[in-house]
């Protein structure tokens, strides 16, 4: 894969957790914990995972809105992981972001023309009549009426506002666009319009996308390859169809089986793998494979040894999975039970009659306050 536009090596981003009156920080949120992958020119890499898996943090690391804790990012042949803010400016021309919230990401007090014109002003590439022409060209490109140049964002609907966001991102003709949940806030009929727009623009302008979404059917539709994240790590990466047809990681299997299908007959036929418990706290991620407390196939090895991201079975090199006990085609996970020895159990078995009866790690709530082992009696007075 020599034709990589973007290449990440072991990217890590920790945030300090501040606790106590002195705001001392000892704990770290492991938001992104050693992510490596490449994005080739002209492709769309989908980045999926549930809330808190670190996908948005990773996006902000790539665009260098965040400093990296460690690791390396090569963009278009240059190492951008240690650039200073001033050195970052030329980079911004080539790499842009589209955000989720079309209401929050546009300044309500400014006219659309000046919002889309900002990139030209900031980078000094066009001014006056030339800028207006370029802005209107961008508006036309995304299907907005160029005559609406002087309107305010509030005069546009959600879908149109998202188009404004796209126009602004495209203004300087970047090479890479990072789309962070670009359609999640939109209704289905409008969502399809924006997805089509993004794919047309990709063909027209030769764009490369990193497409972040939690909606797995949308990601499948737009992506060439998909990386699945869990607790700050990529657990599986593969060409989109390959991942959806032959998911290897138990988490990928569970996640895909939970996607609601808008087809009652297909939905009824499907075997559901319902995961127990919640995603553990990223402050103290579990040892070994961080999915092991919820994994139906977990064994002792998973508790102590972190699996690496490798092709499993006879998958080709594009399909890599981080799991010691990957799921074979046709394997029935709904009957699987973890086999973790007593010495490796973390928490008492779930008393709620959870289907698999495995230990549920319930560390969440306020960051930095893991479950205390004994019940705390705090009566209201």
């Amino acid at each position: 894969m020599s034709d990589a536009l973007l290449s990440l090596t072991d990217v890590v981003k920790y945030f300090p957790v501040q606790t106590g009156h002195l705001r001392r920080s000892r704990d770290m949120v492991h938001a992104v914990d050693g992510v490596s992958f490449e994005v080739r020119r002209g492709e769309t890499l989908g980045l999926v995972g549930e809330t808190g898996c670190g996908k948005s943090t990773l996006a902000r690391c790539i665009s260098r809105l965040f400093e990296l804790t460690s690791g390396q990012i090569i963009f278009d042949g240059r190492d951008i992981s240690r650039l200073r803010p001033r050195q970052l400016r030329p980079l911004r021309r080539e790499m842009q972001m589209i955000f989720q919230d079309p209401y929050g990401s546009l300044n309500p007090k400014r006219r659309v023309g000046s919002i889309i014109g900002d990139p030209f002003a900031i980078h000094g590439t066009a001014s006056g009549a030339e800028r207006k022409r370029r802005v209107q060209e961008a508006m036309e490109l995304v299907g907005l009426n160029p005559e609406h140049y002087n309107r305010f964002p509030s005069e546009f609907s959600g879908g149109q506002r998202q188009r404004i966001g796209v126009a602004r991102a495209l203004a300087l003709r970047p090479k890479l666009i990072i789309c962070d949940e670009p359609v999640s806030a939109l209704d289905v009929s409008i969502q399809a319009q924006i997805i089509n727009l993004l794919s047309d623009l990709q063909d027209q302008l030769d764009l490369t996308y990193v497409f972040i979404a939690h909606d797995l059917s949308v990601v499948r539709h737009v992506s060439d390859r998909v990386a699945l994240m869990y607790l700050g790590k990529v657990v599986e990466i593969a060409p989109a169809e390959e991942l959806y047809q032959h998911p290897r990681h138990p988490y990928a299997n569970a996640l895909l089986s939970a996607v609601p299908i808008p087809d009652p007959i297909a939905a009824a036929k499907r075997e559901r793998i319902v995961l127990v418990g919640d995603v553990p706290s990223p402050v103290h991620p579990p040892s070994g494979c961080n999915f092991h407390p919820r994994c139906p196939k977990a064994q002792d090895r998973c508790v102590v040894e972190e699996p690496s991201l490798l092709p499993r079975f006879d998958d080709d090199e594009l399909h890599a999975t981080a799991c010691h006990f990957p799921v074979a085609d046709g394997e029935d996970l709904s009957e699987a039970r973890p086999a973790i020895g007593v010495e490796h159990r973390i928490v008492e078995p779930d008393t709620a009659g959870a289907p698999t009866g495995l230990g549920v790690s319930v560390a969440h709530g306020s960051p930095g306050s893991p479950e205390s082992p004994e019940p705390v009696e705090r009566r209201r007075s």
Partner: protein, 339 residues
């Protein structure tokens, strides 16, 4: 007799910009043990319709009937309504964090709910019931977690706590307004399973409001499709998914990225939903409809029976026989009917 029967409900709000006609002549009913799915995009009136039924739309102009166990909820006094709401009709909202009071412990809030409707219940008994409820919805170690504050719960647990609270008085009807929209898919699956289990165990009727056709496909028995404040189509779930009549239903289903199919271009519905202040004349969907003809622009179509079962109705001027409707589709869209 249906458990809840809503007839010809109209709800409008006066605003600075004009009168918002949020719900325009909607009728639906739900029986014990059944799940009614109400699906529609933002601004379709799906939430306003059910909130009106439970007396939660203040300052609105309301007409129509909502017969719950034979009594009209819309003409009840606040006092009567309070004895029904919460006790017989449980409610779950989209955002569990803003529906739970951040200063009080989860258990205290459930106990308060029990005390509000059954004042004489001894404290210990109410608390024990709260623990049972939390266990029922799958909160691990409920004896301990009952004394947690809402912020100590994850999103999925909060929503389950909301369900526990809504179920605390064994309501006969549960209204769930986008209960899983803010949740991740694995958690969504857990929550939907809890709702389903409660339904089979207690025979609760459920009205599930959502924009997600996938969720409807999984849990609903009957479906109402709403657009611009009116019902466009209603019927049994499989009729809506496989035998739909209304072009809006068709447009919604076709604009989804098909799951498990070849990647092809999506077919969105062109344009945008209309303003509820200035509705288009005739059929509200006509400006976006691929089948539009003259009559659609001038006359509003009634919700008429189609070829499906007795409940299958569609508000559209297209022919209401299957063969003719499919002929129109083939002519206009030029594609075979999905099998």
């Amino acid at each position: 007799m249906a458990l809840l029967e809503v007839k010809d409900l109209y709800v409008s709000f006066s605003t600075m910009d004009g009168v918002v006609q949020a719900v325009r002549g909607v009728s639906f009913s739900v029986d014990r043990g059944q799940t009614l799915g109400i699906v529609g995009e933002s601004g379709s009136g799906k939430s306003v319709a059910t909130q009106t039924v439970t007396g939660l739309t203040r300052g609105a102009k309301i007409s129509g009937q909502a017969l719950f166990e034979g009594k009209d909820l819309l003409t009840m006094t606040q006092k009567e309504l309070r004895s029904v709401r919460g006790a017989k009709i449980g409610m779950i909202f989209q955002d569990p964090l803003s529906s739970l009071h951040p200063y009080y412990r989860i258990g205290w809030q459930i106990v308060e709910m029990i005390h509000a409707h059954e004042p004489g219940t001894p404290k210990a008994k109410a608390r024990a019931r709260a623990v049972d409820l939390l266990r029922l919805v799958g909160i691990p170690q409920p004896e301990r977690r009952i004394d947690d504050y809402p912020h100590q719960f994850s999103g999925g647990m909060r929503q389950r706590a909301m369900i526990a609270m809504a179920m605390s008085l064994n309501p006969v009807l549960l209204i769930a307004d986008e209960p899983t929209t803010a949740l991740d898919v694995t958690v969504q699956a857990q929550v939907l399973r809890v709702i389903e289990r409660l339904q089979t165990e207690f025979g609760t009727a459920v009205i599930l409001i959502t924009h997600d056709l996938g969720v409807i496909a999984e849990v609903a028995d009957d479906v109402v499709v709403m657009y611009a404040g009116a019902a466009m189509e209603s019927g049994a779930r499989d009729e809506i998914f496989y035998e739909y009549h209304h072009p809006y239903t068709e447009g919604l289903l076709r604009s989804l990225p098909a799951y498990g199919e070849e990647r092809e271009r999506l077919r969105p519905i062109p344009g945008q939903p209309p303003s509820l202040i200035r509705l288009p004349s005739g059929c509200p969907f006509h400006p976006r409809c691929p089948y539009v003809f003259d009559r659609c622009r001038s006359e509003t179509p009634p919700l008429d029976p189609t070829w499906g079962g007795p409940g299958h109705r569609s508000a559209c001027w297209l022919p209401h026989t299957k063969a003719e409707r499919e002929a129109v589709r083939d002519r206009v869209i030029g594609e075979a009917v999905p099998s």
